[in-house]
């Protein structure tokens, strides 16, 4: 853990992620509220775009390094970098140092930033010691463990603990919770049939829980599962976990128009 600079009110740079920025700004605002409630001062560097993961996982090392250098330089001034995504968080925390293994100076900078980078919910729980949130949400929720968060960052109990403190929430555990939903970034575009087979297995498990809502910490996975649930006619509300933890569920669920009553 880094030396907690101004322990009372750390300066957090919010890495919004390109998906949240484009598709679901509500998640960004929920993250800001949660961080401020946890005593952080939140800033959003204006020149951020994407962590570079699509290029990195497509084998385009040059572009991923270019984007990594920009992100590192942009977020270096902050005490912490917080990301409302296990996958983009894992990219900065686990993969940036690896990208620069052969460039000593950048490797040092990447490693220093990686040490101060956290996925949102694990930051609240592990770094800020948050155990309770002030929020209400009525219904049973299934929580999907997104792969990068689970296996790269060890996020498993933290969201469940915080969700447990939300008034009205009952957690319904998914069978095969540690199995991928089939999103996989560009995978779902490159191999749509296989991706569909995987998400079908996942949504069958989700439906079997009887939950009213599906939550997770990664928008990509959520869009994949929401899209499948909706196509198959299941009325399960899909949301980013931050929305529920922040008590900010005014926006219609992912993939819904909000025009019909839910």
């Amino acid at each position: 853990m880094p030396a907690p600079t101004p322990a009372d009110r750390p300066r957090v740079g919010l890495f919004v992620t390109c998906l949240v920025d484009f598709f679901r700004p509500s998640v960004g605002f929920a993250a800001v509220k949660l961080l401020e409630d946890a005593g952080c001062s939140v800033e959003v560097p204006a020149l951020q775009t994407c962590c570079g993961q699509p290029a990195y996982n497509s084998g385009d090392r040059r572009d991923s390094k270019d984007l990594a250098r920009r992100t590192i330089a942009l977020f270096e001034p902050y005490d912490y970098v917080v990301v409302p995504s296990g996958s983009c968080g894992g990219m900065i925390k686990e993969h940036y140092p690896h990208l620069f293994e052969e460039e000593a100076r950048w490797h040092q900078r990447a490693t220093a930033l990686a040490r101060r980078t956290y996925e949102l919910v694990s930051f609240l729980h592990d770094v800020r010691g948050v155990r309770r949130v002030e929020a209400r949400f009525t219904g049973s929720v299934a929580y999907h463990d997104s792969c990068s968060g689970l296996r790269e960052l060890g996020i498993k109990q933290q969201p469940r603990t915080l969700l447990g403190s939300v008034e009205g929430v009952k957690i319904a555990e998914l069978a095969d919770a540690e199995v991928c939903c089939g999103f996989g970034g560009t995978f779902c575009v490159k191999y749509p049939e296989i991706s569909d087979k995987m998400v079908s297995a996942k949504t069958a498990d989700i439906v079997r829980t009887g939950a009213d809502a599906l939550l997770a910490g990664d928008l990509g996975c959520l869009m994949n599962m929401a899209g499948k649930l909706k196509r198959d006619g299941h009325e399960i509300a899909v949301r980013h976990v931050a929305e529920v933890l922040a008590g900010m569920t005014e926006a219609p669920p992912i993939g819904e128009s909000g025009r019909k009553e839910r």
Binding site: P45, S58, D66, F187, C188, P192, K230, R231
Partner: protein, 479 residues
């Protein structure tokens, strides 16, 4: 074995439509995964053993030449012979030569992936030696004329009903009214048929899970005992193994054995673990008169000096494929060559070239479950990503994909332009999708929308809203 790895997408498409395969894959889940978990829960030092196993292999690979020479010396001392084969063709020729010298007409075979790799069955059959598979799974796929679909459970793509049909079609001399409804019936019938073949075999061919440098022994693990009959009854025992199977000592083999069966089938140990050292000695009660080891390179020594070296730690337990959601969706045949699943996605391009197998390392969500269960701690996603980089650098990746990434990266590196375009696009898509909340059809994402709705954006980007909300000068201090 001829590869169809280049046609992975077509193979996968067919596999997804194959009802027998899909039913069989559904059963696999409970069979292997739960048992592995139970076995590991009963062994607190499992992770420490994984570390030890990794170190044993790393050490051996770093001194492979030395251990191989030592191994050869020990095999010779025990009265056996070691044959070095650079290529599959050389390995096949060596086996045939032994068979011909002994006048062998049939060869009993235990399970060996190296035989698949070198296409041995086909080669022997063409040259007048009938290969007979004695492992139940291998026997099933042999009579169906199929390649294995899993490295330890070769017929896992089949249901018991499909196997019963194949038995009826092949064992035509048996009572057509017999019951083959239960797995037990199938096992009994296979045992009856195979027993005769063991006695008829002139040579026995097995693989090896380990070669032990300090003793010159080869080790096989099986659950059916077929391997022991294969190597004891015929006149000659031929061991097929690749270079990286060698470990320094018996103790080292014992350490790796402790993680092998647990990772593979969830057993503490396989039913039979057999150590073979040389041919029958004067005071032995049984055993083969000749003992041969064919050591195959087939590109592995080149791999040793490459950035893919870590795949040589693989002990072929199959845990990575058992836990792979892509493997579970399409089965092993879709991968198109000998080795499927995550280890195959690294080993196949390593042995037959990335240009012939580019889809394999690409068809992964990088969910990371393979690495998390690998007893030898092989960083499979990292190695697959490295192949994607070679794929991209050599422009093997489809032009549309490279172009797409290029355009996206161009904008992502120009934040003001990126934010402007994102804001416009979010607004347009937000408006178009407002009524339904998602898209039923989206031209550039037709693969997605064929089976899923595509959620519409809310309409404004976060950046746009945030900077509108915080227009006061003090919060603009973001650089």
């Amino acid at each position: 074995m001829r590869s169809t790895s280049h046609a992975f997408k077509d193979n996968a498409h067919r596999a997804l439509d194959d009802q027998v395969l899909q039913r069989a894959m559904g059963i696999m889940k409970t069979g292997f995964l739960d048992k592995r978990l139970q076995a590991i829960e009963g062994l607190p030092e499992f992770d420490a053993l994984r570390d030890a196993a990794r170190e044993i292999k790393n050490h051996t690979l770093a001194h492979l030449d030395w251990y191989l020479e030592r191994y050869e010396t020990k095999v010779k001392e025990a009265g056996g012979e070691v044959h070095w084969a650079r290529t599959p063709a050389e390995a096949c020729a060596i086996v045939l030569e032994i068979c011909e010298r002994l006048g062998a007409r049939t060869a009993a075979k235990g399970k060996t992936m190296i035989a698949e790799e070198i296409g041995l069955n086909e080669y022997l059959a063409e040259n007048g030696v009938a290969p007979v598979e004695t492992d139940l799974g291998e026997y099933i796929i042999q009579i169906r004329n199929e390649p294995p679909s899993h490295i330890i459970a070769p017929a896992i793509h089949l249901t018991k009903e499909a196997v019963a049909d194949s038995f009826r079609a092949t064992h035509t001399a048996m009572d057509p009214a017999r019951s083959l409804a239960e797995p037990r019936d199938l096992v009994d019938e296979a045992r009856q048929v195979l027993r005769e073949k063991f006695f008829a075999a002139d040579v026995g061919i097995t693989g090896a899970n380990f070669l032990i440098a300090e003793t010159g022994s080869s080790v096989i693990v099986t659950n059916e005992g077929n391997g022991d009959l294969t190597q004891l009854l015929p006149r000659a025992h031929i061991v097929l193994a690749s270079l990286e199977k060698v470990v320094p000592t018996l103790e080292d083999a014992a350490t790796i054995l402790r993680v092998l069966a647990r990772s593979a089938t969830g057993q503490d140990m396989s039913a039979y673990t057999t150590f073979s050292t040389g041919p029958r000695r004067a005071d032995d009660l049984d055993g083969p008169a000749e003992y041969h080891v064919v050591l195959l390179d087939n590109g592995r020594s080149a791999l040793l000096g490459s950035e893919f070296r870590e795949i040589l730690r693989c002990i072929r337990c199959g845990a990575c494929m058992n836990h792979c959601p892509v493997y579970a969706a399409v089965g092993g045949h879709a991968y198109g060559w000998v080795y499927p699943g995550p280890m195959g996605a690294v080993l196949t391009p390593s042995l037959i070239g990335i240009e012939n197998a580019r889809d394999l390392p690409n068809a992964s969500t990088f969910c990371g479950r393979c690495e998390s269960v690998c007893p030898m701690r092989i960083p499979l996603p990292k190695l697959m990503r490295r192949y994607r980089e070679l794929d991209y650098e050599r422009k093997l990746a489809p032009r549309a994909m490279r172009w797409g990434i290029g355009v996206w990266a161009y904008f992502a590196k120009r934040p003001p332009l990126y934010h402007f375009i994102a804001a416009v696009a979010a607004q347009v898509l937000g408006l178009l999708g407002r009524r339904h909340g998602s898209f039923y059809n989206l031209p550039l994402a037709s693969g997605w929308t064929a089976t899923r709705e595509f959620p519409a954006p809310e309409g404004r980007t976060f950046q746009e809203l945030w900077f509108k909300r915080n227009r006061a000068p003090k919060t603009r201090a973001t650089r």
